[in-house]
Symmetry: C2
Subunit: 338 residues, 2 copies
C-alpha cells in the first residue's frame, strides 16, 4: 500500500515481475477490496498471487517511532513478518523509508557480525555499475560500521553483479591518506592493515562514482544520501537543459525528432527506474526499498533486485565470508576497538 | 606558478582578464625567466602587469604543514602577503588547495565574528545560480560554523549575484525537521529562532542544487566537497553518454554535426570553467582558488570572481551585516552555546 501511486502501481509492478521471473510467487499485503479488483485486471497475476488482507497502512508522513508502536496489522509490518517467519524470501515496499527501515531492523534483526544495516544500491558509471552504501540508514557511522559496509558491499558486487575481485573505495574529500575526518581514516587504516577486503583501492572522491573508479563505494548514510541525490538531480538537470537547447534554433527544432531516440537511449542508460531497488544490507532477511515515486516498471526492477539477492544467497555468502576468513574476527576486533 | 598547466595557463589567463576588466592591474609572482618570455607573447598584458620574481614554488603534493613552515619566498605566499599588506586587492591561485587555504588563514586571518573560512562557489541550476559553502575547508563543522556560513553565503548571494532576499537552505538527508545529525539540527534551530538570515528556507537535499530550490546551500566541507564532485562527475558522465549515443546509428551519425551546437550550448551552460573560482569566504582579505586543471579561460573566470568580490565590497558588507543587525550577537551567542 506504500508509494505515491499505490496500490495500482504495485499491482501492475507485481504483474510485470511474475512475467519476468517465471519461478516467483507474490504475496500482496493490503486492502482486499482495493487490491482484488486491480489484481483481476492483470491476467499475468492469475494463480501467481496470494492476497493477505489488512486495512491498516503506514502513511508516508508517519514517524518511525509511531510506526513501531502501533500499526501491528499494517501491510508493511505483515509483509516483513512474512520474511521473518519464512513464508516469503524477500519483502519489497515503496512505502515510508524510515518506518520500513525501523520495522525491518526490529523484526528481522542483524546478521551475525554486522551491527548496522546499510541502504545499498547500484549506480551507473561510464564503465559499469557501482555498488554504493550506505545511502541513508545511518546519519552517523563509526569506523567499524564502515568496515562492515565494505565487507557487505564487496560480497554484493562479487555475487550479484558477478564482478571478479571487486575493488572497494572509501568516499572522502581527497585521495591522499591524510585527508578526511578521523572516522574515515580509522576505517581505512583498519581495512588496510587487516586486509579485510581483498581488493582495497583506498580513498575515492565524489567524481569517482561517474568515472567508475571502483566497484564498491563505502560511505556514511549522510554523505551517501546527499551524493546519491546530487547525482540524480544532476542527471535531470542536464537532460532538462538538453531539451531546452533542442528548442533554441529553427535548425535544431527541425531536426530534433531525430534526436529523440538519443534522448531515449540516454534516459534508458541513466533511468533511475532501472536502478530502482535499494537493499537494506546486513539484516537477517531480504528487504528491498523501492522509490516511492516510481512506476510499475521501476517497482518490478526492485522486485528483480530482491530475486537476484535471494537466488545468489547474498546473506549466506556474507555470513560465510565473515566466518571462513579472518573477516569476522577482524570486524569484531574493529568492534572492540571502536 | 600553481596548477597543472602553469605558468603558461596563468599568464594567458591574466591576459584574458585585463582585456575583460579594463580597470585592473596584475601582479604576477613567479620565476622571472619563465614568466617574462610568456608575458612578452601577450600584447594585452603590456603596461598592465608587474612581475615579482621568486624561485620558490609550493608544489601540488606538498603538505600544508610543510608549506606553512618553509616556502617563505614561494610565489603563493608572496601573493597572499601582497593582499595582507594592501598592495593587492585580491589573490588568485590555481595551486595546492590545502597549502593555499592554510597560508591564507595564517596570513590574512579571519573576519571579526567569523571563526572558520568556507570555500564558496557558484553552481548552475535549472532556474539560476546557487551559492554553495563549505566545499572542503572544514571536514568537520560545528553548528556555529554553519550559522556563520549561512550569514556569509546570504551576503554573497545578495551583493555579488544581485539576488533580492536570497533564500538559505541547510543541506540534509531529509526535508523533515527531525532528520539529520544533531549539528545540523542545532544550526537550523538557531537560525530559525534567532532569525539570523531573513529568508531561511530550512533543510534541502542533494537534488535541490539542480532544482535551484534555494539561492544559498550551507553544508560542512566534507559533504559539500563530495556533493560538488558528484555533480561535476555526473555532468561529464551524461555528456560522455550523449557523445557515445550520437555514434550509435547511421541516422544519428549523419545528423550529429547538427547536434554539435547543442552540445556546445549545453557545455557552455554547465561548463565548469564558467563556474571556476572558489572564494575562501570569511578571511580578512580576498583569496580565490582556481581549479588546478583549468585553462586560461577558466582562470580568467576565477580572476573575474575576485574582481566582483572586490567591486562589491563583500567583506565590508559581511562585517556591516554582522554589526548592524542582531546577527553578530546571534553568531556570538551561537559561539558561546556551541
Amino acid at each position: 500500500m506504500g508509494g505515491d501511486n499505490a496500490p495500482d502501481m504495485v499491482v501492475r509492478g507485481a504483474a510485470l515481475s511474475v512475467a519476468k521471473h517465471p519461478d516467483i510467487k507474490i504475496l500482496l499485503f493490503g486492502d482486499k477490496e482495493k487490491l482484488s479488483s486491480l489484481i483481476k485486471k492483470e491476467s499475468a497475476l492469475k494463480g501467481r498471487v496470494e492476497l493477505i488482507h489488512t486495512s491498516e497502512i503506514i502513511t508516508a508522513d508517519m514517524k518511525p517511532s509511531t510506526a513501531l508502536r502501533g500499526s501491528k496489522n499494517s501491510s508493511m509490518r505483515l509483509a516483513i513478518e512474512a520474511v521473518k517467519e519464512g513464508r516469503a524470501d524477500a519483502v519489497v515496499s515503496a512505502g515510508n523509508t524510515g518506518a520500513y527501515m525501523a520495522l525491518s531492523k526490529i523484526l528481522l534483526r542483524m546478521l551475525e557480525g554486522i551491527d548496522r544495516p546499510a541502504i545499498t544500491s547500484v549506480l551507473p558509471s561510464l564503465v559499469g555499475d557501482v555498488v554504493m552504501l550506505d545511502l541513508g540508514a545511518n546519519v552517523e557511522c563509526s569506523a567499524e560500521n564502515l568496515v562492515q559496509f565494505a565487507i557487505m558491499g564487496e560480497v554484493f558486487a562479487r555475487f550479484v553483479l558477478n564482478k571478479k575481485n571487486p575493488s572497494v573505495g572509501l568516499l572522502n574529500v581527497g585521495a591522499e591518506d591524510l585527508k578526511g575526518n578521523s572516522t574515515i581514516r580509522e576505517a581505512h587504516e583498519f581495512l588496510k592493515t587487516n586486509k579485510v577486503v581483498p581488493n582495497l583501492y583506498g580513498f575515492v572522491e565524489g567524481d569517482d562514482f561517474a568515472k567508475g573508479t571502483v566497484d564498491v563505494v563505502v560511505t556514511d548514510g549522510f554523505t551517501g544520501n546527499v551524493a546519491l541525490k546530487s547525482i540524480e538531480g544532476t542527471v535531470r538537470l542536464v537532460i532538462g537543459h538538453l531539451r531546452k537547447s533542442l528548442k533554441k534554433s529553427w535548425v535544431t527544432r527541425l531536426v530534433s525528432p531525430l534526436f529523440l531516440p538519443i534522448l531515449q537511449l540516454l534516459r534508458q542508460r541513466l533511468d533511475p527506474r532501472r536502478h530502482n531497488g535499494a537493499i537494506f544490507l546486513g539484516l537477517n532477511g531480504i528487504a528491498v526499498k523501492s522509490h516511492g515515486g516510481t512506476d510499475a516498471f521501476g517497482f518490478s526492477h526492485a522486485v528483480g533486485v530482491a530475486v537476484d539477492i535471494v537466488n545468489n544467497q547474498v546473506n549466506d555468502r556474507i555470513c560465510a565470508e565473515l566466518k571462513s576468513s579472518d573477516r569476522l574476527a577482524a570486524a569484531k576486533r574493529s568492534s572492540a576497538s571502536g
